[in-house]
């Protein structure tokens, strides 16, 4: 009688995260700080993206011990990252009992041709996307939540803005198309036709769409909400700032009250130094994480 792992259950989990902030953490102590600040979930990692970028080499799934420590430390949902295409890492994370898997370009891809067939899992997946076609391909593979890729670990919001604006403008275009134009558009975008038809009819993605990749301040978070994000992921932005507790709280409140500029002004005062940012043009194209996955 009980059915687990249905689309409704997997997508519904993401619906419950809307309007919230999901924070990257690397240990139990950070997870507790995130929970106390009002995070709706934490992403358990071995290193935040800024450190992964600095360290170079191959970035893999976190040590299951770290993930379990985080799971034991907080009562909010715990997410963890698997490499693109690495379905065994994903199975391991599912076996540990994480609440959501991020098939993530922040880690080094394990497969240059194929993403994970996410329909085969009980645990839901979130995937990054730069545009509507990429988002619908991931949903076609079974992703239950989408986020912009942005450019992780940079503290530079410009790529997340580009990806969110691109997606929203493509959605508006598809919504206004006549039905007979849709098949050609599906071909152009490389998107499954049935999903594109849904976007045409509803004017939105069939799953929740968060912002991620370069969000570093309360103002960044509010900006992404104005651009149509359902919520935000903050990676390095919190624990690479001078005062993580304050930053975390301010970003949570700015996300909820993104239309209240007096309040965001107040929240932004005396936060201390944010994480050091990187100008995108200084990252060689081959090192841009957003180019991973297709």
């Amino acid at each position: 009688m009980r059915q687990t792992g249905t689309n409704r259950v997997k997508r519904g989990m993401a619906e419950m995260q809307k309007g919230g902030v999901i924070m990257d953490v690397v240990n139990a102590e950070q997870a507790k700080i995130a929970e106390a600040a009002g995070a709706v979930a934490v992403m358990a990692l071995e290193r935040v993206p800024a450190d992964i970028r600095a360290a170079g080499g191959v970035a893999r799934m976190a040590d299951p011990r770290i993930v379990e420590e985080v799971m034991n430390a907080v009562s909010i949902p715990v997410m963890a990252k698997a490499r693109i295409g690495h379905f065994v890492e994903a199975r391991i994370l599912e076996a540990i009992g994480v609440d959501y898997i991020d098939e993530s370009e922040v880690l080094t891809p394990a497969d240059e041709m194929f993403h994970i067939d996410k329909t085969q899992f009980t645990v839901p997946f979130v995937c990054g996307a730069r545009n509507l076609g990429e988002a619908l391909r991931r949903i076609g593979e079974g992703a239950s939540m989408i986020r912009t890729k942005g450019e992780p670990g940079t503290g530079n919001v410009v790529e997340a803005v580009r990806h969110m604006r691109t997606m929203q403008s493509q959605i508006r275009k598809v919504q206004n198309m006549s039905r007979d134009e849709l098949m050609t558009e599906a071909k152009e975008l490389g998107a499954p036709f049935e999903l594109l038809l849904q976007v045409h009819e509803t004017g939105k993605l069939p799953v929740v769409n968060f912002a991620a990749g370069g969000i570093a301040t309360p103002a960044d978070a509010a900006l992404m909400m104005h651009l149509g994000a359902d919520g935000v992921f903050v990676g390095s932005g919190i624990f690479k700032s001078e005062n993580p507790e304050k930053y975390a709280r301010a970003i949570v409140e700015a996300t909820t009250h993104y239309e209240d500029f007096d309040l965001i002004a107040k929240l932004s005062k005396d936060l201390g130094t944010p994480m050091t940012g990187i100008e995108i043009s200084q990252i060689r194209p081959a090192e841009r994480m957003q180019e991973r996955g297709w």
Partner: protein, 198 residues
């Protein structure tokens, strides 16, 4: 009839759309001053720790308790039910502490254990498709609480006078019957107010 949906975080849009479908005017509420002219309030699903914190930070607890004291119905789903409860297992302080129930958080397990099932809900439906997501259940109830539904002997829906609580998410399906039931509660509270001439 004007019903608010607490919009600090969570599945707000879905509640607004179902309330509108059953003929109520629904508004998303983020600030205490928006509560004053409401006839009822929905506390949606989401993360109860996040919502609880923001509720306290933005001084929403007392005004919501006041709404309840004025006889205005409140409906909590999942996290919203946790906000309503007088007692939360393993936690010292409740959030609103209005409803005489003890709730257990994440009682059915983690996300991989989340499920959907057909429920009998007393006075509402014989076969309601209910979606449970990292759901809590009601471990025990006080004498004034009427149990409306159970899953494997665990209480998943209950009513106490003007308070309605559900472990599951009626806002995630197209089935309007639970929202219809709540709107009826709000209408009855309005009729009562009129008849005593308040």
């Amino acid at each position: 009839m004007k019903i608010g949906v607490l919009a600090l975080q969570g599945a707000v849009r879905e509640h607004v759309s179902l309330l509108e479908k059953v003929g109520a005017q629904a508004i998303a509420v983020k600030r205490a001053e928006q509560l004053a002219d409401l006839d009822g309030l929905v506390l949606p699903g989401g993360e109860s720790t996040t919502m609880g914190k923001l509720m306290r930070k933005y001084d929403l607890v007392d005004p919501i308790v006041e709404m309840h004291q004025q006889g205005k119905p409140i409906f909590g789903t999942c996290a919203g039910m946790i906000l309503l409860a007088k007692k939360i297992e393993g936690q010292e302080e409740p959030h609103l502490g209005l409803m005489d129930i003890t709730v257990k958080r994440n009682a059915f397990g983690r996300q991989v254990d989340s499920f959907e099932a057909d429920l009998f809900i007393k006075g509402v439906a014989e076969d309601f498709r209910a979606v449970f997501i990292r759901a809590p259940y009601i471990a025990s109830v006080g004498p004034e609480v009427e149990i409306l539904s159970e899953v494997d002997g665990n209480i998943v829906a209950a009513k106490q006078d003007t308070l309605l609580a559900a472990s599951f998410h009626p806002e995630l399906t197209d089935d309007v019957r639970v929202h219809q039931y709540f709107v009826k509660m709000v209408r009855e509270s309005l009729d009562k107010k009129q008849s005593v001439g308040v």
